[in-house]
């Protein structure tokens, strides 16, 4: 056998290649079974970036379904609550060009929470059934109320309410939510030319 191989270099090369191929193929096959990943890690990472309002404005019933759709190639600009920031984060993760928010699905708004006008609530439980995060408390024929800390402001409870007693109020108002904003970016205007300075002083 060895003598035959040394006589025929072509055959020797082929055997060696086949041998290597078989070995590494077996190794890869074993690894694929041994280190199998459950679920879809990409869609998990995408889901971690989505704002989890569960509002369905993207056309999917919740953030996880949308993250799975993005993993399957849907566009990344369908999430109004996340806005530009989420699109940028998704673009960085998936290494694609960021796109402007698709206006068909809504526009970026200030974060809100639902607020039930309790005098008007008739206790129909329809909003409780609509809430995707179980943030509304109450029972049949007794007043309902929103747990403000849990509410995502998805507005899914507004439409089912038969007496229109739910308002969406801004979530981040008042002094505890204020923080300094970046200074107006004058430094990026490179007005260092002397003649520019003269016109600036005149203005």
């Amino acid at each position: 056998m060895l003598a035959m191989l040394s006589d025929q270099p072509l055959l020797a090369a082929l055997t060696a290649l086949l041998g290597l191929g078989a070995t590494f193929g077996a190794l890869l096959g074993f690894a694929a079974i041994r280190f199998r990943v459950e679920g879809n890690p990409i869609s998990d990472q995408i889901n971690a970036l989505l704002p989890q309002t569960q509002c369905g404005q993207c056309g999917y019933p919740g953030c996880r379904p949308y993250s799975e759709a993005i993993a399957d190639g849907d566009s990344i600009n369908k999430c109004p609550p996340g806005g530009e920031e989420t699109i940028q984060a998704l673009a960085d993760l998936l290494d694609v060009e960021p796109q402007p928010l698709d206006a068909e699905h809504g526009v970026e708004k200030e974060p809100v929470v639902a607020w039930i006008r309790e005098d008007e609530c008739i206790g129909c439980t329809k909003c409780i059934q609509a809430c995707p995060v179980d943030a509304i408390l109450g029972a049949a024929k007794v007043m309902h109320t929103v747990i403000a800390d849990e509410c995502t402001g998805c507005d899914l409870c507004i439409e089912p309410c038969p007496v229109d007693c739910i308002d969406l109020i801004p979530r981040k108002e008042g002094i505890s939510f204020w923080h300094w904003s970046l200074p107006e970016d004058r430094a990026s205007r490179y007005d260092v030319i002397a003649t520019d300075a003269a016109t600036r002083d005149a203005a």
């Binding site: 989890q52 569960q54 179980d134 849990e150 002094i175 204020w178 430094a187 990026s188």
Partner: protein
């Protein structure tokens, strides 16, 4: 003699401290109206316990603490509660916050208080409780609830109580005045705090530009026959930062993200020590503080002891403000303070200085020029950070790199912006970046919580559907087995019954 260490960086801006004549403490008049914000400290706002129309006495509780990270508010004089509403407060945002407004009656009637004179025999926990009830928040400027600071937890044993009498910021002389005029109270307050913390030693640190304060505190220490060490060190801004003074006096660094208690030190402002003394010995809550009124636009710059809640405009009037066009009033010092947008805003527990500069004294900053990467900021930074890199990353909103470059170790002292030849408002970039990072962390927590709740709800709905399906299948199986037993098909029977009924209803034509 203690070895004095040096900190990295720092600057020497003009001190301008003599302007407000430190050591000469005046009483500010009681204004006709006091406006007391329910949040004068760091943490959760206090909850009002009085109603509009109530008559209150000096020292009476107006709003009680809500939880641990909160301090109560007391009435600084007698009068009537005129309103509880949103009013402008002294805050960089210029926003309003809930305030209790008191119409003062000028009689200044006070409740009677009972102190704890035998504090040495009293359980520290009870003294901490008394300090909490007295509404004491750090008087140095941050307003951290003192009772929280005094409860470092059993895991940390405190060796040293450090009284930080540095007051390194230009213009301000409130602590200097306090140390000169209330040195005995300061020494007693320090002893009480050390007893609470079971600290082995007490160290008072004063910058060497305050010789009068040093002499008076030294005299008070010998009068009390106490073993308190008084350390003086060279003047440099910002030696008064908590982490900076600890490094200057001990050579130790507070770990990044940690607190001084991690290395066995608790650091308090002299004003806080005096407030503690009054709360324990006299039983009096914190209702007044010393404020420096200074700046060249004031004809009578001075230090006053003023009621908390006094409108800023009243104090400026008292110091004879000759306002020029577009007069800026700065709350705090020239390095770390902010311009007040509404002078009806009141002073609070954190107001150590009101600065009314003329336009030539502190001109408005020139427009910022591009960064030329000179590196002066890195030389000036007392926290050994790279301000220039932080600036670029703050502009790019690169939160990962900001964390990598230790943005949260920045003490916002403004030394970098002071030395910047391009006049870039560096600190504002860092403050904005810190705000954005805190904001996105909060949003992240919220969204994680929502995800969990959404998934729990999905799981519950699925389980409910599955249970319903299982029930239906069981019923079907039961019916089928019944049919098999009887030898007839229930579906077929039902169809036949329906047919029969139909036939009955439609009589043959």
């Amino acid at each position: 003699m203690r070895t004095i260490h040096d900190i990295h960086g720092g600057i020497h801006p003009p001190e301008r401290k003599a302007l407000s004549r430190p050591g000469d403490l005046q009483r500010a008049p009681i204004p006709p109206v006091l406006v007391l914000p329910v949040r004068q400290h760091l943490g959760v706002p206090a909850l009002p316990v009085v109603a509009v129309g109530d008559t209150v006495m000096g020292g009476q509780l107006l709003a009680e603490a809500q939880g641990v990270m909160s301090v109560p508010v007391h009435a600084p004089t007698s009068g009537t509660v005129a309103a509880i509403e949103s009013r402008p407060i002294a805050h960089a945002s210029g926003l309003t916050d809930q305030c209790i407004v008191i119409q003062t009656d000028g009689d200044d009637h006070w409740l009677a208080f009972e102190g704890i004179t035998s504090w040495r025999e009293t359980d520290p926990a009870r003294l901490v409780e008394r300090i909490r009830e007295a509404g004491i928040a750090g008087l140095g400027g941050a307003g951290f609830p003192t009772a929280v600071k005094l409860s470092p937890g059993p895991a940390r044993s405190i060796e040293t109580l450090l009284i930080n009498g540095t007051e390194c910021e230009p213009y301000i002389t409130a602590d200097d005045t306090l140390m000169q005029c209330r040195a005995d109270e300061l020494v007693e307050g320090a002893h009480i705090l050390a007893h609470i913390l079971s600290a082995d030693s007490i160290l008072i640190g004063i910058e060497d530009n305050k010789p009068d304060a040093i002499a008076r505190v030294q005299a008070a220490i010998s009068r009390a026959g106490a073993t308190i060490e008084l350390a003086t060190f060279p003047t440099k801004y910002p030696s008064g930062g908590e982490k900076q003074i600890i490094e200057i006096l001990t050579g130790q660094q507070v770990p990044s993200g940690g607190i001084p208690a991690d290395i066995g030190i608790v650091c308090v402002n002299p004003g806080t020590a005096v407030a503690t003394q009054q709360a324990i010995i006299d039983g009096k809550p914190l209702t007044h503080r010393i404020v420096t009124l200074t700046g060249e636009a004031l004809a009578a710059p001075q230090n006053v002891s003023a009621c908390l809640g006094t409108p800023i405009t009243q104090l400026l009037e008292h110091a004879a403000l000759s306002a020029e066009a577009q007069q800026r009033i700065i709350h705090g010092g020239p390095m770390m303070g902010f311009a007040v947008s509404d002078l009806n805003a009141p002073i609070t527990k954190i107001t150590n200085c009101l600065l009314a500069p003329t336009a030539t004294e502190l001109p408005l900053p020139e427009p910022a020029q591009p960064c030329i990467r000179c590196g002066h900021c890195a030389e000036a930074c007392p926290a050994s950070l790279l301000p220039q890199q932080l600036y670029w990353y703050a502009r790019a909103k690169d939160q990962e790199q900001l964390a990598e470059h230790r943005l949260f170790d920045c003490i916002e002292c403004g030394a970098c912006a002071y030395v910047c030849p391009s006049q870039i408002p560096l600190v504002q970039y860092y403050r904005a970046a810190k705000g954005q990072i805190r904001d996105s962390e909060q949003e992240k927590r919220r969204s994680d919580n929502s995800r969990e709740r959404f998934e729990a709800r999905q799981a519950r709905l699925e389980a409910e559907t599955a249970a319903r399906e299982a029930k239906r299948a069981a019923r079907k199986a039961a019916a089928q087995s019944q049919a098999a037993k009887n030898g007839s098909d229930p579906i077929q029977e039902a169809i036949e019954r329906a047919k029969a009924r139909k036939a009955e209803q439609e009589p043959n034509p």
